[in-house]
């Protein structure tokens, strides 16, 4: 009987499985081999390829009888010289757990836990760094400090399949919910590493390495899938490391290690480990001559080892009518058909496996936090209810002012963050200056007792009817040359006049785009003009919550170089710099203890004429002092309904908001999960929180939404609002 190989995972689309490439490589080595494609829906297009002698489509994983399927696989590999190549991660894991013998080419069960993200064992064995990661189910892991540290974009990855690059909390939570609902196995949030993508494909039998190649991606699809690559021999040291690791875990079958070589320092990071061949495996066979699938069934098969390149092409082939496979049609409105996105039905298998996994167990918060939450809850005489801790705020503002003074910074409170008169009064008393973006805010600053000389004016259009342009404001920043030209009157008595400069990398409509030489030169001309009455100043403002602190710091550094260019072109020395948007509640104390000093040093080194450095950490200081107390109305599976709404908690974008629930034994923070928290209004978008594990909550549970003291207050709107009563502490 001819050598026979069953190959599962045969889909050939924009996100292909490795089955077709594996089959093509085997056919290239063994003309008389019998190849049978296996998949779990008729949407698997690769089954129609003539490389397959036959095809088997079984029931989808949500309908399959596991024991019957196991018997089928066992029968398939019963004859001598018959093999099963799994091209599906979860199928491989399931087969491994059921141990059907050596001719089912999957590794021992423990290997699959070893290679699950983050695969520390593989990283250590191969001398690779690991990107920092956290789990969505860890309430303390996916917090502001993780985003502060690594910035956007981040990767949201399923345990076995699928990954999304996200650049904001809304996208992150949507990705967590989508992945958890699709796969049900928990989600990993991973640092993005900028660099070139590489891979190692390998084959091993019973722990013995039979071949390996290195591949560098030359072109990828929008999903990041390989479209062209350069294959070359794996260097000797890495081959030795790989062989030692595979022997240790008794690897059996194909595999792939995905790597990113960081641009900044060429350091290599482990991104993923797959317990199967990659979909580009036939590219290696074709370009490099190393036929790893063939080597698995016949170790005498060998090939060249020169470096060479491959590219993927798209072509059409006739459908094989004799297989009687009906491809599910595209649904109404262009939606994918039932098996459209995952034709091998892996989400269904994943959910079946996940059903056997225990739900995340939330842990109690520490005593200090619990005491604050209990006090907040005690003050809430009804729900929903807002509690603002003015005393705590006063302490924070005084401490920030003191530290700022020590290192040469001037803290400015952006009134828009929370224009509560009591807050403004506390800030003024603590020695802060004010930043206003409207005439009404200037009035609020005046009422709070700030003289004009302690008020900075910002915003994209300052022709406010309420504003007295003759006052000696501390600084006024024009958002554009057009705004300056359109001004009904110039702020001629302002101590400092200047422009807001647009971030160079991040997208923003605000500020002057000095990456354009004509605009750069125009700003220089206007600086000379403004110098007739006032000293020169410059402002950069961009929310670090949208790009991450590291990118924000890089933008500030770039801005300093740009101001140098402006000084040289205009002949004017900048005397005041205003920096905004780079501060989070958790990161502020670290900024003040370390980075702030570095910022001051950098400014003084680059721009020695600068006398004042203003910074605006309003959100960072105010948010932690506000809470909204709410109550669960009811729960429907993963959807929780509460008696508050988006109108009460509108700032769902800029902060990861911890949510706490009171239990008999104390307070716990809700861990991550696939749940969503809906407000009680009739607004379609009334989703107060996403990506939380809510399955343990029930009607009347008391919730506290933290970090609600900044824009949640100033952006609160009347439509569908509960009209929150506020407790003043």
């Amino acid at each position: 009987m001819a050598r026979t190989v069953y190959i599962s995972g045969a889909h050939s689309g924009s996100n292909p499985s490795p089955g077709l490439g594996t089959a093509l490589s085997l056919r290239e080595a063994f003309a008389d081999i019998r190849l049978i494609g296996v998949d779990y829906s008729t949407a698997s297009t690769g089954l129609h390829h003539p490389v397959f002698d036959d095809a088997v489509v079984t029931a989808s994983w949500d309908q399959i009888d596991m024991s019957a399927h196991l018997e089928f696989v066992a029968e398939c590999v019963e004859p001598a010289d018959t093999w099963w190549f799994s091209g599906l991660d979860l199928e491989a894991a399931w087969l491994a757990a059921n141990q059907l013998g050596d001719r089912v080419l999957v590794s021992p069960p423990g290997t699959f836990e070893e290679v699950a993200k983050p695969a520390r064992g593989v990283a250590e064995a191969m001398s690779l760094a690991l990107p920092s990661s956290t789990s969505s189910s860890d309430p303390n892991g996916l917090d502001l400090s993780f985003v502060d540290k690594y910035g956007w974009p981040l990767w949201v990855k399923g345990r076995n399949y699928e990954a999304f690059s996200v650049s904001g909390w809304t996208a992150l939570h949507a990705a967590v919910v989508a992945l958890e609902r699709s796969w049900g196995l928990g989600v990993v949030i991973q640092q993005h590493v900028e660099g070139a993508e590489e891979s190692i494909a390998f084959a091993a039998r019973g722990g013995a390495l039979v071949g390996a190649v290195a591949m560098r991606k030359l072109a990828t699809t929008a999903e990041g899938k390989t479209w062209a690559g350069e294959v070359r021999p794996l260097p000797i040291r890495e081959t030795q490391q790989l062989a030692a690791y595979l022997a240790r875990v008794d690897w059996h079958g194909g595999g792939e290690i995905e790597i990113v070589r960081r641009t900044s320092d060429s350091r290599r990071f482990l991104i993923d480990v797959n317990p199967r061949f990659p979909a580009w495996i036939h590219g290696s066979t074709q370009a490099n001559g190393v036929n790893l699938p063939a080597a698995l069934v016949d170790s005498s098969a060998s090939g060249r080892t020169a470096r060479s390149r491959f590219v993927r092409v798209v072509t059409e082939i006739p459908m094989r009518d004799e297989l009687h496979l009906q491809i599910p049609s595209t649904g109404i409105g262009g939606q994918p058909g039932a098996a459209g996105k995952h034709p091998s039905a892996m989400p269904q298998l994943s959910r079946r496996l996940a059903a056997q996994t225990p739900a995340p167990r939330p842990e109690s918060v520490d005593e200090g936090v619990a005491a604050v939450l209990e006090e907040v809850a005690q003050r809430a005489t009804a729900t929903p209810f807002e509690v603002f801790d003015y005393q705590g705020l006063a302490t924070t503002l005084e401490s920030v002012a003191l530290r700022s003074s020590e290192i040469g910074l001037i803290p400015a409170l952006s009134i828009k963050t929370n224009p509560d008169p009591q807050i403004l009064s506390i800030a003024r008393g603590a020695g802060w200056i004010a930043e206003a973006i409207s005439g009404l805010e200037v009035e609020a600053a005046t009422i709070a007792g700030w003289p004009a000389a302690t008020v900075v004016l910002n915003g994209p259009a300052k022709a406010w009817p309420q504003t007295d342009t003759s006052l000696p404001y501390r600084a006024v920043f024009y958002d554009s040359v057009a705004e300056l030209d359109a001004a009904r009157e110039r702020y001629a008595n302002a101590s400092h006049l200047g422009f807001r400069l647009r971030p160079l990398r991040a997208k923003s409509r605000f500020g002057v785009d000095c990456s354009s030489p004509p605009e750069l030169k125009e700003v220089a001309v206007r600086m000379l003009d403004l110098a007739e009455t006032s000293s020169a100043a410059s402002h950069i403002h961009f929310a670090s919550s949208t790009i991450g602190l590291r990118a924000w710091a890089s933008e500030v550094e770039a801005n300093l170089a740009m101001v140098c260019a402006l000084e040289r072109l205009s002949g004017q020395r900048v005397r005041l710099i205003d920096v905004g948007g780079g501060f989070s509640p958790i990161g502020l104390s670290e900024f003040l203890s370390r980075q702030a000093g570095e910022l001051v040093d950098r400014v003084r080194a680059c721009l020695p004429s600068v006398e004042e450095i203003v910074f605006e950490p309003g959100k960072a200081v105010l948010a932690p002092h506000g809470y909204v107390v709410s109550r669960v109305l009811f729960r429907s599976d993963d959807d929780l309904y509460i008696d508050s709404s988006l109108a009460d908690l509108p700032d769902t974008v800029s902060l990861r908001r911890p949510v706490y629930v009171r239990r008999d034994k104390g307070w716990i923070q809700l861990p991550g999960g696939s749940g969503q928290v809906f407000g009680r209004s009739c607004i379609e978008e009334d989703i107060v929180a996403r990506g939380l594990h809510v399955a343990d909550l029930q009607s009347d549970d008391l919730l506290v939404f933290a970090y609600a003291g900044a824009y949640d207050t100033s952006m609160r709107y009347r439509f569908a609002s509960a009209g929150l009563p506020i407790i003043t502490a």
């Binding site: 890089s554 740009m562 140098c564």
Partner: protein
């Protein structure tokens, strides 16, 4: 061939220093992870003919330049960002029709045209790294890896250095033209 890597001239005053600051600002912003990739340059300085000698301040009047301008900008900004930078000269093999197109474009300007010869083209970029180097292109977002990229020969220029550097697992002698054989 004894061509020296292209150098952009300076008027020695604020006009050229401002242009250099502008370029450093763009480079800093494009490398938020602390690296020194030059791949941003082609987005801000359009590739095309330029009249040599050229000056830094001309980049503010007309942000255009050939590979020599791109490589000189890369060398300046990458060094300012803290990277170890060496200039790289390459001879590349290109399809005849593509070269003919470039010849015609350059002939229409007042620029030098002797950077092509048949199917071969002279090109410049930079190498980053100390003992082990990468050769990113300063005009396009690609990294040069060897003969399969169309490289016929290259020279890594380091006036103060000698010996070899490791490029893609090859030992490459500094300051010498090296012909690349097919692997």
């Amino acid at each position: 061939m004894d061509l020296h890597p292209s150098e952009i001239s300076s008027h020695g005053g604020a006009c050229c220093e401002a242009a250099q600051d502008w370029l450093v600002a763009l480079a800093t912003s494009a490398n938020p992870d602390g690296g020194a990739s030059p791949h941003w340059i082609g987005q801000h300085i359009e590739w095309g003919p330029v009249v040599w000698p050229t000056f830094w301040c001309r980049l503010l009047d007309s942000p255009e330049g050939d590979c020599g301008v791109h490589a000189a900008v890369a060398a300046y900004t990458c060094k300012t960002l803290g990277a170890t930078v060496r200039r790289v000269q390459l001879m590349l093999d290109y399809p005849r029709q593509e070269v003919a197109h470039w010849n015609r474009t350059w002939e229409r300007s007042d620029s030098i045209t002797r950077w092509t010869d048949g199917t071969q083209c002279y090109h410049e970029t930079v190498a980053l790294g100390e003992a082990a180097i990468q050769i990113p292109d300063a005009s396009e977002p690609i990294i040069w890896t060897g003969r399969q990229d169309g490289i016929v020969a290259l020279r890594i220029v380091d006036p103060d250095g000698e010996g070899t550097v490791d490029w893609e697992a090859r030992d490459v002698l500094l300051n010498e033209w090296i012909a690349l054989d097919a692997d």
